[in-house]
């Protein structure tokens, strides 16, 4: 299947105050790939994601989603293909109840009432939030909000999922559930995050962004274990791959003493 492609061709973008954010980004993500986007604060990760659904349009270069070149006219169709999940779930959940929020997308797709209910239930079940259906978002915990935000997007059944820091504000257990959830998706996945361990677990491919340019692009296993490359780009090795011998050693010593 060739139509779940995300392709950036030499995309440049500056904010209205002339802050350059993207400076000639080119890549191609094909169907079913899971790609992590990492980089220091302000490297351009969020700006990059906002180009994927036409919220921002490149000042130079083109973005192609599926078989559509992204511009003002096609942006609505592109938004049906790509589900974008933002960093702050409070911005993502804007309707008064969980049900209304998850149903918002399907309603706008023009589905029948029965179909909408089905989709909402299905999406909430996938993220394990079905019992929260009638609750207002301000009575949910951060973890629940994040999960519902994901449900609100998968209810639209997009071909591609793009996420900005999906695991920020989550406690370890919720984060683990999220990782398992993401691993289960067959969609094309694009995840921008500082949580390198999450990227390592979920993504096969990884792109490093620095000052609006792609500094590296390759297998996640290779890039995320390349200490020199990571440190050059304001990152460090994923915690799970850092030397954990210290603690082991400490324990061994303690065990030895007693």
């Amino acid at each position: 299947m060739s139509h779940h492609i995300v392709e950036f061709r030499d995309v440049c973008f500056s904010y209205p105050d002339n802050t350059p954010a993207l400076d000639g980004i080119s890549f191609r993500i094909t169907h079913g790939e899971s790609v992590g986007i990492v980089g220091a604060n302000g490297a351009g990760k969020s700006t990059l994601l906002m180009h994927m659904n036409g919220y921002l349009l490149p000042s130079k270069g083109t973005v192609v989603i599926g078989d559509l070149e992204l511009n003002k006219k096609t942006s609505r169709d592109v938004r049906k293909k790509i589900g974008l999940i933002f960093q702050n779930p409070d911005d993502q959940l804007f309707m008064p109840t969980v049900f209304d929020d998850v149903a918002f997308g399907p309603i706008n797709l023009g589905l029948s009432e029965e179909k909408i209910r089905e989709r909402v239930d299905e999406a909430l079940r996938v993220v394990g939030c079905l019992p929260l259906k009638e609750k207002p978002p301000h009575h949910l915990s951060s973890g629940q909000k994040s999960a519902v935000a994901i449900a609100s997007v998968i209810a639209m059944q997009p071909d591609i999922l793009a996420m900005d820091e999906p695991a920020s504000n989550l406690d370890p257990k919720s984060r683990r559930q999220l990782i398992n959830l993401l691993k289960g998706f067959k969609h094309t996945k694009i995840i921008a995050s500082h949580d390198l361990d999450l990227i390592l677990e979920v993504c096969e491919r990884c792109m490093v962004i620095k000052e609006g340019r792609i500094a590296a692009d390759g297998f996640a296993e290779e890039i995320l274990l390349n200490k020199v490359l990571l440190e050059e780009n304001g990152l460090e090795l994923p915690l799970s791959r850092q030397n954990i011998i210290y603690t082991r050693k400490g324990q061994d010593e303690r065990v030895g003493k007693t």
Partner: protein, 266 residues
């Protein structure tokens, strides 16, 4: 800090609407219509009419009882907004000092009557509105209004107001806390600082609005807020509306208070 306390209070009225009583189960539209009829009838009484208003207390009392709403909660919320009503009427006894006979020997200034009338009307209408929210939930009322023909531009504004008042309050709370941590004693509490805080809050709000709009666009928003119909008008709604109409009609057309008084007299 009182601000924190207020924040936790505001959600309480909202939680009440999760209840499941006869009143809660009615279609929001019938409750909105009934409340509107009630409020309009109450304010249709003249400036000096006090006695005919009294029987109308039956409506909020019945609603409160049938919906298990705690009386004290409604009373407290009413007290919070009561200064508005009090200030509207408090000078009436001074300016409107025409003498009115209560009985053959007791005279008071007409201003007292109109003041009392304002207070009772206030109590009746505000309690009815609070009970509507407490039994229907704010979004329920908004949806009802939309289905009754109020333009969706207004109702979606209300929905957003309701959704983000909590987020905004949290934001404000964080800013105030941060300020408190960095101001010692009376320093850093002046009007200038306060103006700055408001500015920060405003800018954050604008940024948030643009992020929300972005989220709406990514889910296919095209300028129209569409929501699903969740309730139907049924027999219970018809009965409720008929009962309210009958009650209001009887109270308005007949002198119920006088009639009851007459019974007691003999």
């Amino acid at each position: 800090m009182t601000f924190d306390k207020e924040y936790f209070n505001i959600g309480y009225l909202d939680r009440l609407s999760y209840g499941d009583t006869v009143i809660h189960r009615l279609d929001p539209r019938s409750k909105v219509i009934a409340t509107m009829i009630f409020v309009i009838t109450v304010i249709s009484y003249g400036k000096y009419q006090v006695i005919p208003l009294i029987p109308f207390l039956l409506f909020p009392v019945l609603l409160m009882t049938l919906s298990d709403t705690p009386v004290m909660l409604i009373v407290k919320k009413m007290l919070v907004v009561s200064p508005f009503a009090v200030f509207i009427g408090v000078f009436n006894p001074v300016f409107d000092n025409r003498a009115v006979a209560l009985s053959d020997t007791v005279y008071i200034s007409a201003g007292w009557l109109s003041f009392l009338s304002i207070l009772i009307k206030f109590a009746l209408t505000i309690s009815a509105a609070l009970l509507l929210i407490a039994t229907t939930s704010f979004p329920g009322v908004c949806n009802a209004l939309r289905r009754l023909g109020v333009p969706s531009l207004f109702t979606s504004q209300l929905l957003f107001l309701y959704r983000y008042i909590f987020v905004l309050m949290e934001e404000a709370m964080r800013i105030v806390r941060a300020k408190d941590l960095k101001s010692f004693g009376s320093r850093g509490t002046g009007v200038k600082v306060f103006a700055g805080l408001i500015g920060v809050l405003f800018i954050r709000t604008i940024e948030r609005a643009s992020r929300i709009y972005n989220a709406m666009l990514s889910r296919g928003f095209d300028g129209k807020m569409k929501t699903m119909k969740k309730s139907r008008l049924g027999v219970a709604d018809a009965a409720f509306l008929a009962a309210v109409l009958l009650m209001v009609y009887l109270f308005r057309a007949y002198d119920i208070a006088g009639f009851l008084g007459g019974i007691i007299k003999y």
